[in-house]
């Protein structure tokens, strides 16, 4: 780890000003940032710590919900209002990492964390995510890598569990910059490697996620988050899936289906959504939607099995949500 200056601003606006410089890094829980600094893949000259700034960890379960970016995953997972209205978010937060990490990790940090691709995480590999010219995973060791959008320069998978759930809920992020505040729909927050392979989101320098707003869901809404890991104790998922839909007049309406850990961004399956729209909830509908979801999968040499897992997990999620 290289020496750095620690800055502890008293407000988020002050923090935004301090992180305009490309040499500055924002630290909330510090879970991912400190890992990267210790692994030698990130060496900010200034670390701007916002963890102790008060007032940004509030959870208003709503609906609509408003969650401060400094709320920890543990608190989101344990919030009775969120559990009731947005159960997929509570489950995603509660299933991430380990109890110790969930007590430190924040919602903002979870959304902004960098991928866990093992080539990216090793300083010896100058991959595209570090500004290099090659994705080592594409023809390398890719058993845990992307199965969708694998033709976008970088085959990493996005690691944010809460991002998967928030995308399914159509959340918006309140983003603060030194001069202004803007509202950013979450589907425009995540960026693709073809936009800029060295980043995973569209935040500008000096912009900070201040809070997350989740709309009220229509009557008859249901949602679910599932994931599959090799280990039961701490492990990164092989596949995550989040479904949010309403059942109205006996038919599925407004389904949003999002996979996690399968693409460089949380991956919304429009094919599955289209298959579900207007359908009568049934095991058969679940099966058809799951099959539609993976039709466009383009697995790499070693991760074809993840396609099957994605299909199974979505089918199960739908059957569960249909009840």
């Amino acid at each position: 780890m290289k020496p750095f200056a620690l800055v502890r601003p008293r407000s988020l606006s002050e923090a935004a000003r301090a992180t305009v410089s490309p040499d500055a890094a924002l630290k909330a829980g510090g879970v991912d940032l400190l890992d990267r600094m210790k692994e030698g893949i990130d060496s900010p000259k200034t670390v701007v710590s916002i963890l102790e700034i008060p007032g940004h960890d509030r959870i208003e379960a709503g609906p609509p919900a408003k969650i401060g970016a400094l709320a920890t995953l543990a608190r989101i997972a344990g919030d009775p209002g969120l559990q009731k209205t947005y159960p997929a978010l509570a489950a995603a937060a509660g299933g991430a990492a380990t109890p110790q990490i969930r007590n430190m990790a924040t919602l903002g940090g979870n959304l902004c964390q960098r991928p866990r691709c093992w080539y990216y995480r090793l300083e010896e590999f100058d991959c595209r995510k570090k500004g290099g010219s090659e994705c080592f995973a594409r023809d390398g060791e890719n058993r845990f890598h992307a199965i969708f959008d694998t033709d976008l320069l970088c085959c990493c998978v996005h690691p944010s569990a809460t991002g998967t759930a928030l995308l399914a809920y159509g959340a918006k992020l309140e983003v603060l910059s030194p001069k202004a505040r803007r509202s950013l729909p979450i589907d425009r927050f995540f960026s693709r490697p073809t936009d800029d392979a060295t980043r995973e989101n569209t935040l500008n320098p000096g912009e900070i996620v201040e809070s997350v707003w989740i709309p009220a869901l229509p009557a008859g809404s249901r949602s679910i988050y599932r994931k599959l890991k090799e280990k039961e104790s701490f492990d990164w998922p092989l596949v995550e899936v989040c479904v949010s839909l309403a059942i109205s007049g006996g038919a599925v309406r407004g389904a949003r289906v999002v996979f996690g850990s399968v693409a460089p961004t949380p991956y919304r399956s429009k094919a599955a959504e289209a298959a579900l729209e207007g359908g009568r909830p049934s095991d058969e509908l679940a099966r058809r939607a799951a099959e539609a979801a993976v039709r466009d999968a383009k697995p790499l040499a070693q991760n074809g099995y993840k396609v099957l897992l994605a299909r199974v997990e979505l089918e199960r999620a739908l059957r569960q949500v249909f009840g």
Binding site: G140, E141, F144, E232, S233, F234, L309
Partner: protein, 765 residues
């Protein structure tokens, strides 16, 4: 002196005549009423370890101590053309720097040592490493066993293979074996005639089994702290063998053994990878000498994963035949193992030593690759060998239409293990295992599998111990063994207390220092059967000296005084009888002490192998391939258990490490660069608390009479059959044979798909 002793196990004892060495007590008799031995004794150092008060070698901080770090090659194969330390030497805080790979030297794996520095802080040392300028000439390299076997594959060694072996390795690589490209061997074993055996067979099965590379991943990393005082060297090491560290330092640094002291007060695990001073230790000593200050050099987790050894991979082809009444007629194993730059990849222990078969053929090949060297790891060769052998036994039983357990019993020559099979089968509910396969969830299947273990009851001669009885009735044991975390310290106290008839709190123990009488290295599950008989002998002799001293006071013949059950007496005269504490008051100021060497094993005693049987029950999600081990029943021959709590804990540890090996652990190398892509404990997956099954430990007492305590080691046998039992359970659950470790969802799904395809084609399932 010969003695008649009773040997055997519950319900099956026999009398044997053995030669007992002078000054050695005869082995404990099965009728012996123990006061401490066999009870559940919490480890003596449990509290300091729990509170953090215990200082491991990695915790040692000395005044003026520097931090050593090693620069490693990022390439899988190269020739070093130059190493320039001049800029590094000028970096802030740097006090010493060394070249470890001289220009012209070949580097054979990514992670090999190139140079080292010592600086005032770890960060300064890291910065200095970055300032070292190394020029390499890259060379072609080869990753993976299959690639390395191909004709024309880049050669890991052009000339003679320069392998390094340490205590406990399966077998050293060289020894005049043929080498063809990167392939060394075979080491062959032939018994009877397998061709004839296969001709006699009514059923023959043959299949290939693949296992991965597993790393040791001890909690405490490799390393030591070295301090010179003039020409004397003291090191605080994390080692499985204090005296081996001392001897390697003496030999390499060319200083007398008497000038070196090695200390390991507490240790955070080794699993076979921590023998000798190793390059880390020698480097720390040399840096400390150059800097004129103590140097601490402990590796980080990444270095630990790259360069400190591993359990080699294997590709095993097993062929087996049996008659229709279930007798094995032939067993054949051909194995190729990837030990990186080391050999020693054989897996034949189980196939040679578990089931009786007149016709056996084994061919073992080491395959060199450009990867970190293998080294001994908890039962070297056995978990991989047991996995392949026990899958084969299941397949052959199936082909014969026989219950897999019954088939094993028919071919198992060990009466103890047959009993273990019976106990375990009862406990796991073997008879109803087929009925339990279906669950309420159509996707979830349950399965039960079994695996057998063998290990070698080989306590070693060589250890020495001193037992002193003080005037106040307390006693002290000095013995240079190290406690890896297995409970050796407590074991030493238990044996002395039992023999002297003292409560545990009256016995103090000094271990972990080469200034103490010679202790055994902790490898091959030999620590307890090496140390315990030594301690008992020394205590036995100290007790004799107490009797002699009291006899002198009483002016009676020495041989007429006996010490038993807290009482020192000369039978026949009630006035010559004193409680222990009163008798000790008659001792001179220095008390009495005896130093004893371990006696030879009684080769003429009853049995030479330790056995075990494990049963696993798993739940498999057949749609996702996800396996959860629900329960493991581990039944093991534990000799005479000295500490039931520690023995149980050792077996649980073996099972947990076996579960982890069976399901998760896998060193992944990037085929295109030869670098390990998961050199951590995040993507190198190890079972966590939620992945640990319910473990039933059943300790079978066996009185083998081999040493005076009948003790055996359990560290290794406890992990031998776990993966085998789990793989068989998964195969039972899904109705498809698992032939690859680790058993990830991908592996299960592939096995299920393959079986379905075979069924669709009308072939055998």
């Amino acid at each position: 002196m010969t003695d008649k002793i009773r040997v055997g196990f519950e319900g099956d004892f026999q009398v044997k005549e053995i030669a007992v060495a002078p000054g050695d007590p005869a082995p404990w008799d099965p009728s012996k009423k123990f006061s401490i031995v066999g009870t559940r004794v919490p480890r003596l150092d449990g509290k300091p370890k729990t509170t953090g008060e215990a200082k491991y070698s990695i915790d040692v901080r000395l005044p003026g101590m520097l931090y050593g770090r090693i620069l490693r090659c990022p390439m899988a194969a190269a020739t070093v053309t130059s190493v320039d330390l001049s800029a590094a030497r000028k970096m802030p805080g740097v006090r010493a720097a060394l070249v470890l790979a001289e220009p012209g030297e070949r580097v054979r794996f990514a992670g090999q040592e190139i140079a080292a520095v010592a600086a005032a802080t770890p960060e300064q040392a890291d910065d200095a490493l970055a300032a070292i300028r190394v020029a390499y000439e890259p060379r072609p390299f080869v990753v993976g066993l299959e690639a390395a076997r191909k004709p024309g594959a880049p050669l890991v060694f052009d000339g003679k293979a320069e392998t390094k072996t340490s205590a406990g390795d399966v077998e050293s690589a060289g020894k005049g074996l043929a080498r063809n490209g990167n392939v060394l061997g075979p080491r062959s074993t032939v018994k009877g005639n397998v061709e004839e055996g296969f001709r006699k067979a009514d059923a023959v099965v043959e299949a290939t089994y693949v296992t991965q590379v597993q790393t040791h991943t001890a909690l405490e990393t490799h390393g030591l702290v070295a301090r010179w005082d003039g020409d004397e060297l003291t090191v605080w090491a994390s080692t499985q063998g204090l005296f081996g560290v001392r001897d390697e330092l003496a030999e390499t640094l060319r200083i007398p053994v008497s000038k070196i002291r090695v200390i390991t007060e507490y240790m955070g695990g080794g699993f076979g990878a921590k023998f000798g001073a190793r390059i880390e230790g020698l480097t720390a000593a040399r840096l400390a000498k150059e800097a004129g200050a103590p140097v601490k050099l402990f590796l980080d987790r990444k270095e630990e994963q790259l360069a400190t050894g591993n359990r080699p991979s294997s590709v095993q082809t097993v062929k087996a035949g049996a008659t229709k009444d279930g007798k094995l007629t032939a067993l054949q194993l051909t194995v190729y193992g990837d030990g990186g730059t080391n050999g020693g990849t054989g897996t034949s222990g189980p196939i040679k030593n578990i089931y009786a078969c007149d016709n056996l053929k084994v061919d073992e090949f080491d395959v060199f690759t450009n990867a970190g060297p293998s080294t001994a790891m908890r039962a070297p060769g056995h978990p991989q060998g047991a996995f392949a052998l026990e899958a084969t036994m299941d397949e052959l039983a199936k082909k014969l239409g026989m219950d897999p357990l019954e088939f094993r019993m028919k071919n198992d020559p060990s009466a103890v293990r047959r009993e273990e099979f019976r106990i375990g089968a009862e406990k796991i509910g073997w008879k109803t295992r087929d009925d339990r396969r279906q669950t309420q969830d159509p996707w979830i299947r349950r399965g039960v599998g079994v695996g057998a273990a063998v290990w070698y009851n080989t306590g070693d001669t060589g250890p020495r111990a001193t037992v002193t009885i003080h005037r106040d009735g307390s006693a002290e044991v000095e013995h240079g063994v190290q406690d890896l975390g297995t409970g050796s310290r407590t074991m030493v106290a238990i044996v002395a207390a039992e023999e002297l008839g003292l409560p545990l709190e009256k016995v103090s123990v000094s271990i972990g220092d080469t200034r103490l009488p010679y202790g055994p290295e902790s490898g091959g599950s030999t620590t307890t059967p090496s140390s315990a008989p030594t301690i008992r002998r020394a205590a036995f002799q100290a007790k004799k000296q107490l009797a002699a001293a009291v006899a002198r006071e009483w002016k009676v013949p020495a041989e007429s005084v006996t010490v038993s059950d807290d009482v020192v007496s000369a039978p026949g005269d009630p006035k010559y009888s004193l409680p222990w504490a009163e008798a000790c008051k008659l001792l001179p100021g220095q008390g009495v002490s005896a130093t004893a060497d371990r006696a030879d094993n009684h080769d003429d005693a009853w049995q030479r192998f330790t056995t075990g049987a494990q049963f696993a029950e798993v739940e498999v999600d057949t749609a996702t391939g996800r396996v959860r081990v629900e329960r493991v029943v581990a039944v093991h021959d534990c000799g005479v258990v000295l500490n039931a709590l520690a023995t149980e804990s050792q077996i649980q540890g073996g099972v947990i490490q076996g579960v982890s090996y069976a399901l998760f652990e896998d060193r992944v190398l990037d085929r295109r660069t030869g670098r390990m892509v998961n050199p951590n404990v995040e993507e190198y997956k190890i079972a966590g608390s939620l992945d640990v099954p319910e473990i039933d430990v059943i300790m079978v007492s066996v009185w083998d009479g081999v040493n005076n305590t009948n003790s055996v080691g359990i560290g290794e046998p406890a992990t031998v059959p776990t993966a085998a039992a789990i793989a068989n359970a998964v195969s039972h659950a899904v109705g498809a044979r698992i032939r690859r470790l680790p058993i990830t969802p991908e592996v299960v799904l592939a096995a299920v798909a393959e079986a379905e395809e075979a069924r669709a084609k009308g072939g055998p399932a």
